[in-house]
Symmetry: C2
Subunit: 293 residues, 2 copies
Amino acid sequence: MINSQTKIFAVIGQPVRHSLSPILHDWFIKKFKLNAAYAAFEVDAGNLEQAVNGLRSLGLGGFNVTIPHKESILQFVDDTSDSVALLGAANTLKNKDGFVKAFGTDPFGFVESLGEEAARFNGARVVVFGAGGSAKSIVYALGKLQVHYVCIVNRSRARAESLAGAALEKYGLHQVSVFDASKNILNDLVSEADILINTTSVGMHPLINESILPDSSAISKKHFVYDLVYNPGLTKFLADARLRGAKVQSGLDMLIFQGLESVRIWHGEHFEIGKDELKEIRKILKTELGINE
Amino acid sequence: MINSQTKIFAVIGQPVRHSLSPILHDWFIKKFKLNAAYAAFEVDAGNLEQAVNGLRSLGLGGFNVTIPHKESILQFVDDTSDSVALLGAANTLKNKDGFVKAFGTDPFGFVESLGEEAARFNGARVVVFGAGGSAKSIVYALGKLQVHYVCIVNRSRARAESLAGAALEKYGLHQVSVFDASKNILNDLVSEADILINTTSVGMHPLINESILPDSSAISKKHFVYDLVYNPGLTKFLADARLRGAKVQSGLDMLIFQGLESVRIWHGEHFEIGKDELKEIRKILKTELGINE
């Protein structure tokens, strides 16, 4: 029920037409009985400053920020959380009486999405595919999870090295190596690792027959394989890994938990969702994506 | 159900905490199955330009504009409807791809609220109490309704004369006179009139024992008496008039129909509400106001 106290939140990006955030946050609003409404605002790069001023002048509650504004938004905010300062990117803005602070909830969403599997990460050997914004959040989270080492596998070696440098200097990691995706050493890397994480869009709908690791022969049942892609629910990368006995997980729960963390930041309350509720929202999102599993 | 296509609308003003618009428009949204949400944004005069820029840059659908911004908003819009140009005030902004046009739906809301009583106005003699923004909208509507003459009764004669001038020059009225509220001639004016309209806030909650016409002895059953105040539902002015046999109407339906006209402007569709629906929304608004009748 809308009334004059209802707070407006929104995801801003371009495009945002296909964003799942409005559906996810509408579910949170109902689940936690928040006096709020959530929308998607398509904002041009050239209108970004106006959009943040709109947040302030209209007294909106906050924004989620998505591609391509996650980095450029920072020049228009009044304050940043520690993780945003370290990552140089934000996905959540909170407005309090015209003062706008930027937060990043992706690393947190990743960690919370792991559930019981989080215990695997302490001291683990991890291969991360990709070196973009998502990889940055994941590598930052791996620092918090105190993994043993991280191998960053990326087509562009320069970008991977930049991320490796940040990981060593700022994210608390002690062993980080960088590999060109074309190297034959890949199978060795995989067989020596405990955890594989795809942060690239390879395998995402509609190119569902592609995998970040075309030769999956080095994967075995000791592996935990995570794909940030959530559409399809089971990418070729994950399907191959599962066939080889590995435990696998898609990016859907990370999407849910990064959103949940935004809600906690906005409303200043530590909301939780139980197992049945998690199943419920997964189902809603999969239906929206047209995933039948 | 919110999704990424949901359009956001809002009332902007100061204060807006007690605005009924969010509840009214939430009802329209559900009734007409609009993919929209409606909020109240408290906007300072100093933030008004930023607010209109926020409307543009965030791609909101539109605003209702209330006190104290109805006039000052006009310097920030790209276009105005004919009635806004004539009235110098707006209560509705529509945003289309960053182009913002201002509309005024109060005169329309007044006319539509009359229902079958509208027929009384053609050739009628009308006394209007007050000469502020609301009086302006009413006198403009009286021009459209082709009344015979209008007497404007107001404490400040200067303001009343200014309105009378506009009525004669721009609103299509041919006979307009102005009276000081303290004049003894008031009873004569009333007994010669067919219709009395209070556009002031006299009698509004909590000062419910006040009436714009303390001596109601000149009112008789030939009169149609309208009060723009809707809280209480029956002001002392209306209660006295009813006791003397007059037909009376409160401002609640005008509130509803000015809102409906905004919805039509925003969505480009001629939505209608039937008698039962009108009863339903009246009841919702009265409940919100704490009116038990």
